[in-house]
């Protein structure tokens, strides 16, 4: 096989599990990646007593790794308690697939994000409403852990690419330690903005490059 995917990725891509729509779902969450244009919708049906995920399905407007990750992450989450499902990470999914090429890691992030969103919405709906906290550097760092450097497949926080974070009057300025003409500069910038601009107290996100 000339494609840079594991056998497992190909298998899940060819015959994805848990595909489709749950008509009377408790939650539906959609995540889209501005970086590659992929989109993934996830449906959850939760047992209100045991809080176990009874049914989980997904739909994908995405590439092979997106479809494969949607397939495996729904496999992993099925039957789990909702609060345990929240702990499943993109890395768990990627590992379960036997790894993904670095440039494709951001697709697995998308499937994990959809799962986390769905869980969050479910928890909010069912009385576990979190209060809106003001956006801090810590919150921003946590969000940026989902932005991948496509060259390495490692997130930009872990790879110490965040040089500076400035929060002032609802405007967040992020300085990324990469040259502006880096192969993935445009891509990383778009992802950062997407991860932060929806926060309730954020008006604008600016991304600067250090070189």
């Amino acid at each position: 096989m000339p494609v840079p995917y594991t056998k497992l990725v190909i298998e899940h891509f060819k015959h994805p599990h848990n595909v489709g729509e749950i008509k009377n779902a408790d939650v539906k969450a959609t995540e889209g990646s501005p970086a590659c244009g992929d989109m993934l919708t996830l449906y959850l049906k939760v047992d209100p007593k045991t809080r176990e995920i009874k049914d989980i399905k997904f739909q994908s407007f995405g590439c092979a790794s997106n479809i494969a990750t949607g397939s495996i992450i729904t496999d992993i989450a099925k039957g789990k308690k909702i609060e345990d499902a929240a702990k499943i990470t993109w890395k768990d999914a990627a590992d379960a697939l036997g790894g993904l090429p670095p440039v494709k890691v951001h697709c697995s992030v998308l499937a994990a994000d959809a799962l986390h969103s769905a869980v969050e919405i479910y928890m909010e709906k069912n009385g576990l409403i979190k209060e809106h906290k003001p956006t801090t550097k810590e919150i921003i760092m946590a969000k940026l852990k989902h932005v991948m450097n496509p060259l390495t497949g490692i997130d930009i926080v872990k790879s110490s690419l965040i040089k500076d974070i400035l929060i002032k009057d609802g405007i967040i300025t992020i300085t990324v330690d990469l040259p502006e003409d880096h192969q993935f500069a445009g891509n990383i910038k778009e992802e950062i903005i997407e991860r932060l601009e929806y926060l309730w107290d954020v008006k604008k996100v600016k991304v600067n490059f250090s070189e």
Binding site: C36, G37, S60, F61, C63, A64, Q183, F184, N187
Partner: protein
């Protein structure tokens, strides 16, 4: 069944081309520069001159020395852009090109911007066609070079380079066209049309890789961009790739317009049958002004890398303009310049044909494409309302 539909990337080398090349590896391996030293050199020189003469004639040139051999289309485009810009810098430092050019044109121009040149990147319309009036208005007294691609590598859209050349000549600038995709599928007539520089790429029409051609009309002010010896009329140093030059000559010699008509009929069949069998498709590029061998379609609600991989499982080779597939994770800049949405680029597939494809292969491709699109659309959260 194996169906290769990525001929805009590269083509199968014709057996006759390989046969013509082989003696130049094993028997006639001297270089033309040795012409004054020995008979082997003369033999090589004669062979290369023969190639120049033939290619010059086919392009509507007047002199064999107007043909410069390079390492490929990329080098030809670099030589044209950078070589002409610097050689004419005293006259002016303004250059014009188009947003949908190949990277081997765009990136030399970007480099020239860093060197103090000013570059205008002309927009295109929804079919990918540049407006000639806009071009005319963009040419200034200090414009030295206009470079407009003949046929686009991704969509097949063809520019009216005959009229473009006329406008450029009226305004007194030099005109270069990257014809790597279009020629010899479409005609060119260098002197009659007023074209100063032409880039050609023989591996796009069953010739070998590692050889490019730059036609440089006699009298065109251009300087070398690589330093070395005095080969190629002191414009392109380096040992002549004699076997590849002979291969290029052969590919040009045997290229047949009958094949072009055949390829065009395959493209028509492919498009019509896909249109009949698959809903919600869009054509990217002009149908009226188009290379006979390239068809670019968007299949709505599905992603291109997924489509191309699934087709690959069925033995069919195509490529996509999806960001997911690209090396910088950005959607095709060509489709974006044509005003397409990110979503449309996401599901774009390029089919590119050659004389070696058969009707049977096209029918198989249509059938498999229908199956793959249907299966992926069932997975997709989009377009359900439209389809029901």
């Amino acid at each position: 069944m194996k169906v290769y539909l990525d001929n805009a990337a590269s083509t199968r080398v014709d057996k006759r081309v390989v046969d013509a090349m082989i003696p130049f590896f094993t028997e006639k391996y001297a270089v033309p520069s040795s012409q004054f030293a020995h008979a082997y050199g003369i033999e090589a020189k004669d062979a290369v001159d023969g190639a120049r003469t033939l290619i010059s004639k086919k392009l509507g040139g007047k002199f064999p020395e107007e043909i410069i051999f390079t390492s490929g289309g990329t080098e030809s485009n670099n030589l044209a852009a950078i070589g002409v810009a610097f050689a004419n810098a005293e006259k002016g430092k303004h250059l014009i090109t188009m947003q949908t050019e190949h990277n081997s044109v765009l990136n030399p121009f970007k480099r020239l911007e860093k060197e103090g040149f000013e570059v205008t990147y002309l927009p295109v319309d929804k079919d990918g066609i540049v407006n000639i009036d806009t071009l005319r208005k963009s040419i200034r007294d200090d414009t030295t070079l206009v470079s407009i691609q003949y046929g686009n590598h991704e969509t097949g859209t063809v520019q009216n380079i005959k009229d473009i050349a006329k406008v450029v000549k009226e305004k007194g600038a030099l005109f270069h066209t990257d014809a790597a995709i279009a020629w010899p599928y479409l005609p060119i007539d260098a002197y009659k049309w007023g074209i100063d520089l032409i880039t050609l790429s023989p591996h796009k029409f069953h010739g070998p890789k590692g050889i490019g051609i730059l036609f440089v009309k006699k009298g065109t002010k251009i300087e070398k961009i690589m330093n070395g010896g005095y080969n190629e009329f002191n414009l392109r140093p380096g040992t002549e790739n004699v076997p590849a030059i002979i291969g290029a000559k052969k590919a040009i010699e045997i290229f047949s317009q009958k094949d072009v008509a055949y390829i065009a009929s395959l493209k028509k069949r492919l498009l019509n049958d896909i249109k009949t069998n698959i809903k919600d498709i869009e054509i990217n590029g002009s149908m009226e002004h188009s290379s006979p061998h390239i068809l670019n379609l968007t299949f709505k609600y599905v992603e291109g890398e997924a489509v191309s991989l699934r087709l690959d499982f069925e033995g069919i080779a195509v490529i996509t303009g999806s960001a997911c597939y690209s090396r910088n994770l950005q959607a095709s800049y060509i489709l974006m310049a044509m005003g397409r949405e990110h979503e449309q680029a996401h599901g774009s597939i390029r089919f590119s044909l050659s004389k070696y494809n058969t009707e049977e292969e096209i029918d198989y491709t249509v059938q498999k494409t229908e199956e793959v699109i249907k299966s992926l659309r069932e997975l997709s959260p989009l377009g359900k309302e439209d389809r029901e």
